[in-house]
Amino acid sequence: MSRRSAIGLATIATLALAWYLATMPLEWISPGRFPSPLDVWLALQQVTLKGYANGLLYQHIWHSLKLVVLGFLVAAGTGVPLGLLMGWSARAEALINPVFLLIRPIPPLAWIPLAILWLGLGDSAKIMVIWFAAFVPSVINSFTGVRSIEPSVIEAARMLGTPRGRLVREILFPAAAPMIFTGLRLSLQASWTTLVAAELVGAIYGLGKILNVAQTDLYPGMIFVGMTCVAIFGWATTRLLAAIETRSLAWTQLAEALP
């Protein structure tokens, strides 16, 4: 085991121990403020086996996960092509940019009340908000990706008589791919943040719903469970995207993994 992993593990173990001690035997932290390991365990059992906030844990997880992935794909599916178009065509950029600049400063979470007004508390409202949140980073990074392509690479492609379709598929897209993936990473992050927030404000199922109800119930153990789930699945989806990125960008010389 490397030194770094060993120290990391030791730190986490120490923190875990401190947590246990502070909340249980020593009671430095009152249970109303922060849950003890036992509280968390009990809450976990409850939500997994008996259910909480209208559902079992796996149902909530599945619901949130579904919405994040769907929202992310819609946002990426619309954002990346638009960014590529704006990067490639100065005309498209000139036409679309001002509107984009107008909408962009509005934080994605600020769309939540409007989304609720328009679509209620159901899934479509969530997808709409996720779309707004995740759309922007994909556009911007795809745009930058195209703009930072070395001009001589495009010139070489044109010199070789590459037709339009092939140019986009085999030249533009791979060349912009590293930045596109940066955008995707940001989009995924934004998707999670927005979903949790949207579910916190109002939802029927989901991890945010668990947090919401736990907050009203003053149930720290359950809050902890909810947050941990958010962290775990956020991490898992990020790692999945990173794996796809590594496979797709095998041809690059990325010297260090980006967090």
Partner: protein
């Protein structure tokens, strides 16, 4: 390498296209709203939103006028953002320099980083009720990571020769951090501040949607409960404007740093 430019548009042409884009946007909006294709209650016309915005500048809604709500929000933001920077930047620099510190803090940081700042709201509510501590915690959760990461990266990737030169000159650790790492990381740190401000402002709005009794996010929620779309949209515009102002200010800072040759 200069940026890729396939067609060079004259400034006039670019401006013209931009105007077309903007006007089309407002035209379509107005059309959808006034023709009734979208129920008017859901989509007020642009001028209605502008009128409401004007009114909110003077007349109170949900307890205060728009500027007063904004001031409330801005204050919370300032506290949280400054706290995030003041804790994150020095810690990042130290972690970039002291490997041991990096090894201790990083695992915990990496674990906590994946928790969306907004997910801290329940605990914030539990601990601080509707007091100012709650939003500050959430803003901190959003603003802290970029400050830390960028300071860390800046310190770690200072060119080796600079550090070796400093060591050769017998510079103490503290002095190296303050007089070599910090200046060399300035560009990265300022970039981090920009991201941090954006995330912090976002997190604030999110927090105010859930646990606040004043502030522009709170105002939006009240407007939504009242089904008052023009007010909701006015609040969105206000939020966007403030966010933009913050970003412009930090971008100017970035440019100033670059001009000073620190980048």
């Amino acid at each position: 390498m200069s940026a890729l430019r396939l067609q060079t548009l004259s400034r006039a042409e670019a401006a013209a296209l931009g105007a077309v884009g903007l006007l089309s946007f407002f035209a379509i909006w107005s059309f959808l709203s006034l023709s009734g294709l979208v129920p008017h209650q859901f989509l007020p016309a642009p001028y209605e939103v502008a009128a409401r915005f004007g009114r909110l500048l003077l007349a109170p809604f949900a307890g205060a006028t728009l500027p007063e709500h904004l001031a409330s929000s801005a204050l919370r933001f300032a506290y949280g953002f400054v706290l995030g920077a003041v804790v994150g930047i020095p810690l990042g620099l130290l972690m970039g320099w002291f490997r041991v510190l990096d090894e201790i803090v990083s695992p915990a940081f990496d674990a906590l980083r994946f928790i969306a700042p907004i997910a801290w709201v329940p605990f914030a509510a539990l601990w601080f009720g509707t007091g100012i501590g709650g939003p500050i915690l959430i803003i901190f959760a959003g603003a802290f990571p970029p400050c830390l990461i960028n300071a860390y990266r800046g310190a770690r990737f200072v060119p080796r020769p600079l550090i070796e030169a400093a060591q050769m000159l017998g510079t103490s650790n503290l002095r190296i951090i303050v007089e070599v790492l910090l200046p060399a990381s300035t560009a990265s740190i300022v970039a981090g501040l920009r991201v941090s401000a954006g995330l912090g402002w976002q997190s604030l709005i999110g927090a105010e949607l859930i646990v606040a009794s004043t502030g522009v996010g709170f105002m939006m929620v009240q407007a939504q409960l009242d089904a008052s779309t023009p007010t909701v949209m006015s609040a969105m515009v206000a939020i966007g404007l403030v966010g933009l102002a913050i970003d412009v200010a930090l971008r100017a800072l970035e440019a100033a740093v670059r001009r000073r040759g620190l980048a």
